[in-house]
């Protein structure tokens, strides 16, 4: 078997079987199931406790429409007409029969107002729902008082019809743009997470081999190129495995959640029409994801080979995480402000930012294929450059055990390399 495959399978399998991987994956799976079923979980706990609110209606004619309105908008809050005084209502709230009570009054112009009393007023949700319902009643009453036709009022409040149409045939329409925003957002998060989690895993892995001094044995039997690429690919595969688990669990959990609550409010398809994603966008997402991964992974592998102690890894890779964060902010500017600005265009050709920013431009604008081609070529070239620099300082790096600033380490390793 080729030594590259030996390193790849060994790294992949030993990481896959490691306790830390199993534990983090399980925690993430549990969180994922929780997040996708958050409505069901909240409903489950709230099932038996419908909020009951006593209503002391001083006007005598507001309770009925209010209760009807509440039934429409917030069925889980039950209003109960209460005929006795405020003191009795307070007792009932204290002994837990009611969540709270409210007194509805009316001024001389017939405009309703209310006072809401509860043991605690931290629950914005319940009082908010009631307030909203009462607001509706108020609007109704006020329009009636003015002698207006309610349907006319509805016309006043209805939103204006404002349609945007791009004259350039190739430009994206509003729906496509929303879609692109979501995909770019997802990709940004994905690359950010991947660099943070798996990139630092690679750096740590290599620094561990170096600090345990097993590296000298390894580089005496395998060439640094094979070793480095084997590690980068193995951790990449590990990441894909983990993502695959998340996607499968997330998807089936969303499906299961939906069948339980037919009108589930959490529904990703509201935001992203998965079935209608342009294949082009998906292909570019995959291409730029992998380009981004390999770029950052080789960079971090290189850094891992320079530090002498595992404890120094975090500090050494912080400039890289900072760069990814900067990319994140640039992407946010491009997404929500102006993807066509020259700043974004320039950034999309700089290797550190290309994977995300160029993909952002592909998603948001219609840019000519040659621009995409150039950025891919730049990416590939810089990855190859990084690999060749990386493997060169690799031998120097793994045989020197200096400490100090990154620049000093890099200089030291390059010196050893140049001399060898």
């Amino acid at each position: 078997m080729n030594k590259f495959w030996i390193i790849l399978t060994h790294t992949y399998l030993s990481k896959l079987k490691s306790k830390s991987f199993i534990v983090t994956t399980s925690i993430m799976v549990v969180l994922l199931i929780g997040a996708t079923n958050i409505n069901n979980i909240i409903n489950y706990f709230n099932k038996d406790q419908h909020d009951k609110i006593a209503v002391i209606d001083k006007t005598g004619h507001i309770y009925k429409p209010l209760a009807a309105q509440m039934k429409k908008t917030a069925a889980d809050i039950k209003l109960v007409a209460f005929n006795k005084g405020a003191n009795q209502a307070e007792d009932k709230v204290e002994n837990g029969t009611f969540t709270g009570y409210m007194i509805i009054k009316e001024n001389d112009k017939g405009v309703p107002s209310a006072n809401y009393y509860a043991m605690k007023i931290t629950d914005e949700n319940t009082s908010g729902q009631v307030k909203q319902a009462l607001q509706q009643i108020k609007v109704m009453k006020a329009t009636q008082n003015l002698g207006l036709d309610p349907s006319k009022v509805a016309e006043v409040y209805s939103p204006v019809d404002f349609n945007k149409t791009a004259l350039d045939k190739s430009a994206k329409n509003e729906k496509e743009l929303t879609q692109a925003r979501v995909i770019v957002y997802v990709l940004v998060l994905l690359i950010y997470m991947t660099v943070l989690m798996y990139g630092s895993m690679i750096a740590t892995e290599i620094a561990t081999e170096k600090s345990s001094r097993v590296m000298e044995l390894i580089v005496s039997s395998v060439s640094p190129v094979k070793h480095m690429l084997g590690k980068v690919l193995a951790i990449g595969l590990l990441g894909l495995t983990q993502y695959l688990v998340f996607i499968l669990v997330g998807y089936s959990s969303v499906k299961a959640g939906q069948s339980q609550t037919a009108n589930g409010t959490f529904n990703i398809t509201n935001y992203l029409d998965i079935n209608n994603l342009p294949t082009e966008t998906i292909i570019f997402a995959v291409v730029f994801f992998f380009l981004g991964y390999f770029f950052y992974a080789t960079l971090l592998a290189m850094i891992g080979s320079l530090v002498s102690r595992v404890e120094d890894v975090g500090q050494a890779i912080s400039p890289i995480t900072m760069l990814v964060m900067a990319t994140f902010f640039i992407a946010m500017y491009g997404l929500f402000s102006n993807p066509e600005s020259p700043f974004i265009t320039v950034m999309s050709f700089i290797p550190f930012f290309t994977p995300i920013i160029m993909f952002l431009r592909i998603g948001m604008l219609s840019i000519p294929l040659w621009e995409i081609g150039i950025s891919v070529v730049i990416m590939l070239a810089s990855i190859i450059l990084l690999i060749s620099i990386g493997t060169r300082i690799y031998k120097g790096g793994v045989l020197t055990y200096n400490s100090g600033s990154m620049i000093k380490l890099l200089k030291g390793a390059l010196k050893v390399t140049k001399e060898s």
């Binding site: 030996i6 345990s212 044995l217 039997s221 395998v222 001399e419």
Partner: protein, 299 residues
């Protein structure tokens, strides 16, 4: 000659680690590198293994440069010991064996054989960090020899081991040599080199001070020691021409002499003095030669 080092120089910046080293290392024998710390032994080994490139000169193994294609024929025990602390002994050595071109089943078989031999077969499923330092070193040694290399490089193989385990490892090394493995090893323990090596090279600050076969080195070393035990004062013997120094202990006096001829004059002198219980010319130990050569080079 199987390994020839031709006028090799290695500089790190302004520091010269190896200075014009030329050596011919014969096949199927044991070759010892001697030197104090920083003499350039490890750097030489790393250059032989192609981990470092010489600044000038070349190293040829069986007429060509060593590359990664040869890694299945080369075993290496680095001075800085290191294994994966979290990995089981079996996983670890199978992985390292595979990287040296072994099949998984062969690696397992060999590993079991070696563990049995060292009497530690129960370590097969243990993690490295659970083992004592000495036992880790045994595992490290197995990692260097598991793939039956033709050329074995051992950098300070016995340092940090107790005498019992030194013997165990020594026997293993001798056996490997008898099987036809060419072994290069470094040490600053002269007795080990004296016991094991046919050929040796004493290095000092990157320069070879002395190279050749053990017998040749010893024979060429003209300064010998004369041991005298008699019922008289030996102090005035130091005044004789050709006597370089005198050291006394409970058994008698040890006189350092310039060459063998001086011993005859001492003998004549002794005969006049009285009863001689013992008189002997002692071969210099490698330790004496080393201290003398390296000491003088540093003066």
């Amino acid at each position: 000659m199987m390994l020839s080092i031709n006028d090799v120089v290695k500089r790190f910046g302004n520091y010269t680690a190896v200075d014009h080293l030329t050596l011919e290392i014969p096949e199927k024998q044991m070759f010892g590198f001697l030197g104090v710390n920083g003499a350039g032994k490890t750097t030489t080994f790393r250059m032989i293994l192609d981990l470092l490139k010489p600044t000038s000169g070349e190293i040829l193994w069986q007429g060509r440069k060593i590359s990664y294609k040869d890694s299945h024929m080369i075993g290496y025990l680095p001075e800085e010991r290191g294994l994966y602390p979290k990995l089981k002994v079996s996983d670890q050595l199978v992985y390292l064996g595979k990287l040296r071109g072994m099949a998984k089943s062969d690696a397992k078989k060999e590993l079991k054989g070696w563990l049995d031999r060292f009497g530690v077969s129960e370590y097969y499923d243990k993690r490295i960090e659970e083992l004592s330092k000495g036992n880790q070193q045994k595992i490290q040694f197995i990692a260097a020899v598991i793939h039956k290399p033709k050329l074995l490089i051992l950098d300070e193989p016995f340092s940090g081991l107790d005498p019992v385990n030194v013997e165990v490892l020594k026997r293993a090394v001798i056996e490997l040599k008898d099987q036809g493995v060419s072994i290069l090893f470094s040490s600053h323990r002269m007795d080990h080199v004296e016991e094991l090596c046919e050929h040796l090279c004493i290095m000092d600050r990157g320069k070879p001070l002395l190279t050749g076969s053990l017998k040749g080195v010893k024979g060429a070393y003209r300064r010998k020691t004369v041991f005298v035990n008699g019922d008289f004062n030996t102090a005035d013997l130091v005044a004789l021409p050709g006597v370089l120094g005198c050291r006394k202990d409970n058994r008698g006096a040890y006189l350092k002499i310039e060459n063998e001829a001086v011993s005859q004059e001492i003998f004549q002198e002794l005969a006049k003095k009285g009863f001689v219980r013992s008189f002997a010319i002692e071969e210099p130990s490698l330790n004496d030669i080393f201290i003398d050569k390296v000491g003088r080079a540093n003066e």
